[in-house]
């Protein structure tokens, strides 16, 4: 049984009304420019992918051999080219395209477009009206697959609008790690990636979601993410952007509905060339004893512009605790960083919200200290930059932590 046509038609009608509605933040993108549609066939294994595509996927953390993965999902342009579930995890979780999931499960009506407003702006409307798959991942109650699920949303051609809708449901007491790489296989591709993500972390469940974005100079990105966390649930969001992008604007929301629910955002951004980057995180603390933490490290080089936003919104009648830590280094006279932390308490008389924000140059005292140890100025700056971006992200699988650190190290070195 699929999601009802009545509900889908209601969504469509709301989306149609919003198709020209500009987003609150970020430059307005003319989505009509991106009309190209390419149908692709499936591949038997990730090993069979074209070399260029394979390499692009690997850079974003995708394990082609799938040895330490409980499942994989790969989409190129508008087509799902690969879905797999490691046999050892059958009966523990399911992975399929969202298109298949809404045809298969009528109960998905309770999840599909229930967190992200379909008429939020023209980008949400575009996904609702012209959805091109996206992944659906569900972990059954109490299941804790040992290895992460990996997904890769890749754009290979120009003038594509990749409109994905992702849904993750981590049922009661279950745990899941997801690694998502969003990338281009051609550095000069022009286009847009629109990603709706609705994640549900049920009672006592845990979701660790790591996203590595790897875009290029002519590409626009507009993700729209909401995560709902129930009692005793935990959500960790790790986000890494170390390559140029034409423009990206996202303000993911963790809605801590349940008591003792928690969310943590770790954001690492390196602005290069004339990238326009407007990223943030919003944590809504509604459950009693809920906790939130949002940490962002940004570096703005070249002519990049970075907005680093963070909202903590307390709405609980009980106690809650949340902290924002947002730091930036400006590398270039032509770059800009805007750090915009916001604390809001709506009648939450027992809430404790705090923030620290800073923007500064690289610390010359640190550079000279390392030079006195026989390290060149360039290597010293690179080591300090790498250190600044290296958040010790808890709950991150070790191999991924290593990989992120390596990407940061190479980026810092190349940027010198």
């Amino acid at each position: 049984m699929s999601v009802s046509s009545k509900y889908l038609s209601e969504l469509r009608s709301r989306a149609e009304k919003a198709i020209n509605k500009k987003a609150l933040y970020g430059p307005d993108v003319d989505i009509d420019r991106y009309k190209q549609y390419i149908e692709r066939g499936k591949v038997e294994s990730l090993e069979n992918l074209e070399q260029q595509i394979k390499e692009a996927a690997i850079i974003t953390g995708i394990d082609i051999e799938e040895r330490q993965r409980s499942g994989s999902y790969l989409q190129i342009d508008q087509s799902v080219v690969y879905e797999s579930l490691n046999k050892a995890y059958e009966g523990q979780l399911e992975i399929m395209s969202t298109t298949d999931a809404i045809s298969k499960y009528d109960w998905l009506e309770e999840y599909f477009w229930r967190l992200v407003p379909v008429d939020q702006d023209k980008y949400t409307a575009q996904v609702a009206l012209n959805m091109t798959h996206g992944y659906f991942i569900r972990v059954l109650p109490g299941q804790k697959p040992q290895y992460p699920v990996q997904s890769c949303l890749l754009v290979a051609e120009s003038y594509i609008s990749q409109n994905v809708h992702n849904i993750i449901i981590v049922e009661e007491g279950a745990e899941l790690q997801v690694i998502t790489g969003c990338t281009l296989s051609k550095g000069d591709a022009e286009g847009i990636h629109l990603g709706i993500s609705e994640f549900f972390v049920k009672k006592g469940a845990k979701l660790i979601f790591t996203m590595i974005h790897n875009w290029a100079d002519n590409f626009h990105v507009r993700p729209r993410t909401w995560v709902m966390v129930e009692d005793d649930g935990m959500y960790v969001n790790n986000y890494v952007l170390l390559k140029p992008v034409k423009s990206i604007q996202a303000f993911p929301v963790a809605y801590l509905k349940g008591n003792r629910a928690s969310a943590r955002f770790n954001t690492i951004v390196y602005g290069l060339k004339d990238s326009y980057i407007d990223l943030g995180s919003r944590i809504i603390l509604e459950g009693e004893d809920s906790r939130g933490e949002s940490i962002a490290r940004t570096i703005a080089a070249d002519e990049s512009v970075i907005y680093s936003r963070g909202d903590l919104i307390a709405k609980t009648k009980g106690y809650c605790l949340a902290h924002l830590d947002c730091r930036g280094i400006l590398f270039s006279k032509n770059a800009k960083i805007f750090a915009i932390p916001q604390l809001v308490s709506e009648g939450a008389t027992r809430s404790e919200l705090s923030h620290e924000a800073s923007i500064g140059p690289i610390d010359e005292e640190q550079v000279e200290y390392l030079m006195s140890r026989g390290i060149t100025r360039e290597d010293a700056v690179s080591a300090i930059t790498t250190g600044f971006l290296n958040l010790d992200i808890p709950y991150l699988p070790e191999f991924l932590d290593r990989e992120i650190k390596e990407v940061i190290r190479i980026t810092a070195k190349e940027a010198m």
């Binding site: 640190q366 030079m371 006195s372 100025r377 250190g387 600044f388």
Partner: protein, 245 residues
């Protein structure tokens, strides 16, 4: 013995303030020299100038090291020529672990036997994964500085107040480490020389220093046996030195 370092009529300012006012100093290879002086006399400034920190602007004079005029060389170049420093208050570098720094300095693995031995000796095994000096106590900072120098193996070691902020229990450890660094415990290393700044003189119990100097108001005003100088300073402070000048 051959001369390792010489400064000639060295005038140095920090910002608008003149700190060193014509320092003439000379030392040979293998010599250990101790600098005494009241707060603000210019001891640390002298050391930082020798290391090449740009904040310490040389207005006049020059520095000759191993026969080469290094007055215009930067910190990195001086370090590569064999000058190393243990800071009184080293900066914190969050994110860059002590382990990573040691690997960069040594250009080898942290588990290399020679390196492990030094880490164990300085009791720093539990600090390797922490950011450099991030939350380190005074003693831990000094031990970390000495560990880095032991791996760096400079020919001229500059040590700024090795006892400051170190508890009594750790002073012996710091002293032994300096002794080891200077190679004075075994066969005397003819090459490695040192300049040590000390307020308390505790370090003289561990290090066999050759010569002491008193620096007051940016000038070297006298030199002699370091233990005699220390005894004199302990008895009368620097008052008599000012008069003597």
């Amino acid at each position: 013995m051959e001369e390792m370092l010489r400064t000639e009529d060295l005038w140095v300012s920090v910002g608008e303030q003149e700190i060193l006012k014509g320092v003439d100093f000379s030392m040979n290879y293998g010599e250990i020299n101790v600098l005494f002086g009241p707060n603000g006399a210019g001891k640390t400034s002298f050391m930082m100038t020798l290391m090449g920190f740009p904040r310490y602007k040389i207005n006049r004079g020059r520095i000759i090291y191993k026969g080469v005029d290094i007055t215009d060389k930067d910190i990195y170049e001086r370090s590569k020529m064999g000058i190393g420093i243990s800071f009184q208050r080293p900066p914190t570098v969050k994110g860059l672990s002590l382990k990573k720094l040691i690997e960069i300095i040594s250009n080898s693995d942290i588990n290399d036997e020679g390196i492990r031995e030094k880490i164990e000796m300085l009791n720093l095994a539990n600090h390797l994964d922490r950011g450099i000096n991030d939350g380190f106590s005074g003693g831990e900072m000094k031990r970390s500085e000495l560990l880095q120098l032991m791996i760096q193996k400079p020919d001229l070691v500059l040590i700024d107040e090795p006892e400051s902020g170190v508890d009594i229990e750790n002073i012996a450890l710091v002293g032994e480490a300096i002794n080891l660094l200077l190679g004075k415990d075994k066969v005397k290393d003819k090459k490695r020389g040192a300049i040590i700044i000390t307020h308390t003189g505790y370090i003289l119990d561990f290090v066999n220093a050759d010569k002491g100097y008193i620096i007051i108001d940016g000038r070297l005003i006298c030199s002699g046996n370091p233990r005699d100088i220390l005894a004199e300073v302990k008895r009368h402070g620097y008052r008599r030195c000012v008069e003597c000048r």
